[in-house]
């Protein structure tokens, strides 16, 4: 469904991605793991076309999307939950969620999706009218995820969705990811919480300073002693 080949990207002269190749198959959950600064966020930004690529191929459903604009990417069904809960601080919770539906064609189904998001995150329903900037850190994170779900994406890019969430909710989040995946959304997941991420993933890539150093089926990586030591912690 999504194919990256030999992608290089720079910030000024910082070579952030050095020849990344990734495949995400339709209906799967794929994880992207690695230490701070490895280039995970940059990879997602490249896919969303926020960061320009120096060289390489990016294809989505067999179409070359290298020259697409971010909004075209979204209307093709790729939606990202950005790192660090980027909610719109002056909009209300409800308005933030509605923004998620901006590119949706099936306006009639929006109330359903909204109900669903509210059942995932009841706290959001309680705070429907609160200005998002005053939500607690975790509440904002829920909102950022909920907003992306409102778009009913084909491919969901999640950048550290569990950031700042309480343990119980983290558990819920991974359940939710599994659930929406079952309902047909393909997922590319960036997580620090590598162990849990691998448990729900089909396939995973491990990045280090802008290169892919390991990849494989998730259950294999979990049991790989080297990987475990280096990236997952004992």
């Amino acid at each position: 469904m999504l194919k990256l080949r030999d992608v290089n990207a720079y910030y000024g002269y910082v070579h952030a991605l050095k020849g990344i190749s990734i495949d995400v198959e339709e209906g799967k959950i794929v994880s992207l793991l690695g230490a701070n600064g490895a280039g995970k966020t940059s990879t997602l930004k490249v896919i969303s076309r926020l960061v320009s690529v120096e060289s390489g191929i990016i294809e989505f459903q067999e179409r070359n999307i290298k020259n697409y604009s971010p909004e075209q990417i979204v209307s093709m069904g790729i939606v990202q939950v950005p790192e660090g809960r980027q909610v719109f601080p002056q909009l209300t919770v409800k308005e933030n969620l509605m923004i998620g539906t901006f590119t949706r064609k099936d306006k009639d189904n929006i109330p359903n999706t909204l109900d669903k998001v509210y059942t995932y995150f009841p706290r959001l329903k309680e705070r429907e009218k609160q200005i998002a900037g005053t939500l607690s850190g975790g509440e904002q994170q829920m909102l950022a995820i909920g907003r992306a779900l409102m778009a009913k994406p084909k491919l969901l890019l999640l950048d550290e969705p569990s950031l700042g969430l309480a343990p119980l909710i983290v558990k819920d989040i991974f359940e939710i990811i599994k659930e929406i995946n079952k309902e047909g959304t393909t997922i590319l997941l960036v997580e620090q919480n590598a162990f849990q991420a691998l448990q729900i993933s089909d396939y995973a890539y491990i990045l280090e300073t802008g290169k892919i150093v390991h990849q494989g089926r998730a259950n294999q990586l979990i049991s790989d002693q080297n990987v475990k030591k280096a990236y997952l912690g004992a």
Binding site: Y10, G12, Y13, H15, K18, S55
Partner: protein, 328 residues
């Protein structure tokens, strides 16, 4: 040659060279007047850059401070017969006190609201200039004389240039020292994140006042120097137009840059006049205004960090190109 890396020493060298050039090569008198003006605008731009570039506080009423300095100094020298140097200092201090008031306003307001409040402040002060006849002589305007310091009269434009460059030099060094130490860090922190600044013990109250007071001081000094160079002023000069010009100087010169303030001031003082001198453009109406506007826009498009950082910017883009080539 290590001392050459010291900024104040570099400033000194540049200042000396600038002072000598007109003494060696005889420039036209009107050119000298223009250069003097450019130096004077550099002073106010420098102060304004402390406010806008470093402290992140906007003001669209700064022309009023320059005007205030001009009037204070004209009154002190002509009416009260005070020595020029004392008047120069006082014409910085009086606006500084008013600047403190504006700083208080800034404590409550941000961004565009501050911009408009200061604009309103500027208009109100200008109106006071118009109505307070005993202090300003209203629209009839106020006259002044060439300054005398220790018996030396600065009537010659070349001497005046030495005077204004000296003041600019001293104020630049002061600004440089201040900005590279605690105060500078505090101002930048306040600009980038008020919350972080406060948590680090930076009093917004103190530093907003400091920024406004300092910039008003610089403006007042510039006003005094202006007054004794041109020897005439009237209220219409100290309005929004000058305040906006000032903003433009600082932005195209380079925010948060001492050199940028000076470059910007010279650019906006000299370029419109130079354009008028281009022979084949002279028949077009308003060329100067059209071209200056276009130049402003082009500079911002191509050098968004201002003239002062053109070098660094070019170097960086070259560097990144080179590095990329090496890597691929």
């Amino acid at each position: 040659m290590n001392f050459l890396r010291n900024k104040p020493i570099q400033y000194l060298i540049v200042a000396l060279i600038c002072m000598i050039i007109p003494l060696v090569f005889k420039l036209q008198q009107s050119t000298m007047t223009m250069l003097n003006l450019a130096v004077i605008y550099s002073i106010i731009a420098l102060g304004f850059n402390i406010l806008l570039g470093y402290a992140g506080q906007i003001s669209l009423g700064h022309a009023a401070f320059m005007g205030l300095g001009a009037y204070v100094s004209a009154n002190m020298v002509s009416q009260l017969h005070m020595p020029f140097l004392l008047s120069l200092l006082v014409s910085g201090l009086v606006p500084m006190l008013i600047g403190l008031l504006l700083g208080m306003v800034a404590l409550r307001l941000e961004g565009h609201y501050l911009a408009i409040a200061t604009l309103g402040f500027g208009v109100a002060i200008q109106q006071v200039f118009k109505e307070w006849i005993s202090f300003t002589n209203g629209y009839s305007g106020m006259t002044a004389k060439f300054p005398t310091i220790f018996g030396i009269n600065f009537r010659s434009r070349e001497y005046y240039f030495i005077l204004s460059i000296t003041v600019l030099f001293l104020l630049s060094v002061f600004a440089y020292n201040l900005l590279k130490s605690k105060t500078g860090r505090a101002l930048i922190a306040m600009r980038d994140s008020e919350h972080a600044a406060q948590a680090m013990g930076i009093s917004l109250f103190k530093y907003k006042l400091v920024a406004f007071a300092l910039s008003a001081f610089y403006a007042g000094i510039a006003g005094s120097l202006y007054m004794h160079l041109i020897r005439f002023t009237e209220p219409n000069q100290w309005g929004i137009e000058l305040s906006l010009n000032l903003l433009a100087m600082v932005v195209i010169g380079g925010l948060a840059s001492i050199e940028g303030s000076i470059l910007g001031a010279f650019f906006l003082t000299l370029v419109p006049e130079l354009i008028k001198e281009i022979p084949f453009l002279q028949n077009i109406k308003n060329v100067s205004s059209i071209f200056t506007g276009a130049a402003l826009i082009l500079i911002i498009m191509f050098f968004p960090y201002g003239l002062a950082r053109v070098g660094t910017q070019l170097k960086q883009s070259l560097l990144s190109k080179k590095k990329k080539e090496q890597l691929t």
